[in-house]
Structures are given as structure tokens and as C-alpha cells.
Symmetry: C2
Subunit: 180 residues, 2 copies
DNA sequence: GACTTTATATATCAAATTGATATTATACAT
DNA sequence: ATGTATAATATCAATTTGATATATAAAGTC
């Protein structure tokens, strides 16, 4: 599943512009499947060329025309086929974990700073989840609720693990010859 | 932190060829920071041009020359500077979660298949962690142990969440007008 | 004995993606 | 006044992905 397919999926919820989709990516989707303008706009032109979306151009004063995309029947069929893939991947790209693998080359303070930063980021996620639940959860599909819960569960597990195990990285190791 | 920096970090463990580094990415690193030949080889040539690694070319019969790279003092300095970044990111790209967001467009059986596949993948991870611990953990740096533990904790949390919440996606929702 | 897969080793390339930047106008703060 | 946020598009170099090409030996399978 690429950015094109995800955009198509978002359009099943109603017509939207590239700008609208970007907001979608920023608020919720982006936390497990990121995309920027650099991939959204090319995705929409490509979908348009393939006939999977139609585009209505709306003139505006002072701003560029608003291009509102709508999924077509062919687009819907393509999406349903794409969703039949029973082995979608789940990948992590973590500069955080890569950095921690090299902790032995770092100063204790730098390690602490990295861990603190990660905990802050996790706290931000949790706050975001909390707000989403309070504000707009009533009209969500079950799938979206499942995904939000998944995010919460992982965030909790990460926070717990880091808090309980950070001492492994920052305490001075016992000298290996101590027992001799 | 890009592939170049991670390769440099791996070379602090001793000289290695691109092929060797790829094996490293496959066995452990790849599970949180993937890289293929298409990024490893260009990374090594680039590091070589910058003087961060030196290269010894070893002739072999029947096979291409083996190019063994070694980190230089300048490379080590560059790496240490890169590790001073106190806000390394941790990103997820999950076709799995994206698919689940569109579960309402899917057949119940397809949803089950996707969830089962994910659970199988997690089981594979856990088995890999188990093997790594049994085989080669004694000579690991603390950082590597921390990262392995992190992986295990997340895998456990994902498995638990999916098992306990999959019914949300596959059970028929109660009709919304039932209470009327 | 024939055949297939795995391991050794490099390299390249099109396509996708990232992250930043450009453009232009309104509106709201400081 | 000056900066920042919002609305809206678009482009681009650099990076990364995933696949493919090349060539040989060893090991496993039928």
C-alpha cells in the first residue's frame, strides 16, 4: 500500500483537496503512515490520470484554485482490490533505537537527553490520543478506534519499558574482572 | 541519522564489507532500521569519498573483489558528532494499521486474515529474539541489550492488543437504532 | 546424476518518498 | 509594523526502496 492507495481510502469519506488530505495525515494518519505534499500532490495527479478520482477545480480570489478530488467507481474497485492484500507490512524506522545501539560511544548526559526526549514525544502522543477521544471519537469507524487503541497500547508499553530499563544504559557497568 | 551514519556506527565494531553490513541489517538492525544494497553500497562510496572510511580491495577467484571498509579517525569524529543529536526520531510506516482503518470496506474474512498474518509476523519476531538471546547475547553492548528488550516489549504489547481487541473489527456492530 | 537453493559479493536503476522551499493572500497577534 | 498562522498549490534535489543483473561454489534435494 502506497500513498496513492491511502489517499484513495481517505476519499471514501467524501471529496477533499490535497490540502485537506494533508491535514488528515497530520492529525491522525501521520502517526503510523506519514505523507507530505511532495507525495500527496503527485499521488492525486496520478490517480486522476488513472481515472480513479475526478477533479473539480474551484476558483478562489487571492489563493490558488482549490482542486477538490472525488473517488470514482473505478477508484473504489481498485481500492477494494488493494485492501485484499492479506499481508500488509508494519515497519519501524527508528533513529532513536539506532542511536541507543551506539550508547557505549556516547556521554551519559547525552544518553539521558535522548531518553528524556523520547519520553516527551510519547507523552505528546498520549495527549493527542486523549484529545481525539474526547473530541471526535463518536463518529469513527470501528477500524479507526482499533488503530487508536493500538497506538495507545504501544505508547504505554514504550513508556514503561524506557522508564524501567533506562538504568541499563546510564549506570556504570560493574567491572568485568570484579569476581577474579 | 541516515544509512551512512548507521553504516559508520557498525564499522566501529571492526572492518567489514557491504555484504557483511547487509547481514547485520538483516539479522538485528533491520527490524528497526532497514537498509538494502541499494542504499548500503552508495553509502559506503560516499563515506569513502568523504574520508570517513578507508577501503582495502581484496581479490578473490570467481567472485567480485571483496572491498573491506574500515572507519578512519575523521569518521569516528563525525559519528560522535552525529550521536550528539538529542532528538532522534522514531517512525512507523504501517500498511497494517492503514488497512485496518479501512476495515469497514473489507470482508470479515479478509480482516481476520490480515490480523492472523500480523500475529504470525510478531511470533516470528519473538522467536528471533529468543534465538538471539540464547546464542550471542553475552558479548553485546548494553545498548544492544536495551534495544532487544525494547523490541520484545513492543512485540508483546502488540500481540496482546490485537488478541484482546480483534473482536472490535470482526463482530457485527449492534444496529444503531436498536434502542429506539 | 541432475536440479535447485543458498551463500558469496558487487553494482545499478526506475520509482517512491522525504523534507525543504517557493508563491501569494488574508487574518490575527504582539 | 512585524511576525506568525492559515489557506492552497507546486516543485525539486537527495535519499531510499525493491528489484534485477552478474558470476561461482557449495550444499541440499529428488
Amino acid at each position: 500500500m502506497d500513498v496513492k492507495t491511502v489517499c484513495l481510502g481517505m476519499l471514501t469519506d467524501g471529496p477533499a483537496s490535497g490540502y485537506d488530505l494533508k491535514k488528515n495525515f497530520e492529525s491522525t494518519f501521520g502517526h503510523f503512515f506519514a505523507a507530505g505534499y511532495g507525495s500527496i500532490y503527485p499521488a492525486l495527479s496520478s490517480l486522476s490520470k488513472q481515472g480513479f478520482v475526478s477533479c473539480e477545480q474551484i476558483a478562489q480570489e487571492g489563493k490558488p484554485d482549490r482542486k477538490v478530488y472525488q473517488i470514482t467507481e473505478e477508484g473504489r474497485q481498485f481500492l477494494l482490490k488493494a485492501l485484499e492484500n492479506t499481508s500488509p507490512c508494519h515497519k519501524i524506522r527508528s533513529e532513536f533505537l539506532a542511536t541507543m545501539c551506539f550508547a557505549h560511544l556516547m556521554q551519559g548526559e547525552a544518553i539521558e537527553a535522548v531518553l528524556d526526549y523520547r519520553l516527551e514525544e510519547i507523552a505528546k502522543y498520549r495527549e493527542m490520543f486523549r484529545q481525539l477521544e474526547a473530541e471526535s471519537m463518536s463518529d469513527w469507524e470501528e477500524g479507526e478506534k482499533f488503530v487508536l487503541g493500538f497506538g495507545k497500547a504501544i505508547a504505554t508499553a514504550m513508556e514503561k519499558y524506557i522508564t524501567e530499563n533506562r538504568h541499563l544504559l546510564t549506570e556504570e557497568p560493574v567491572a568485568k574482572t570484579a569476581a577474579v
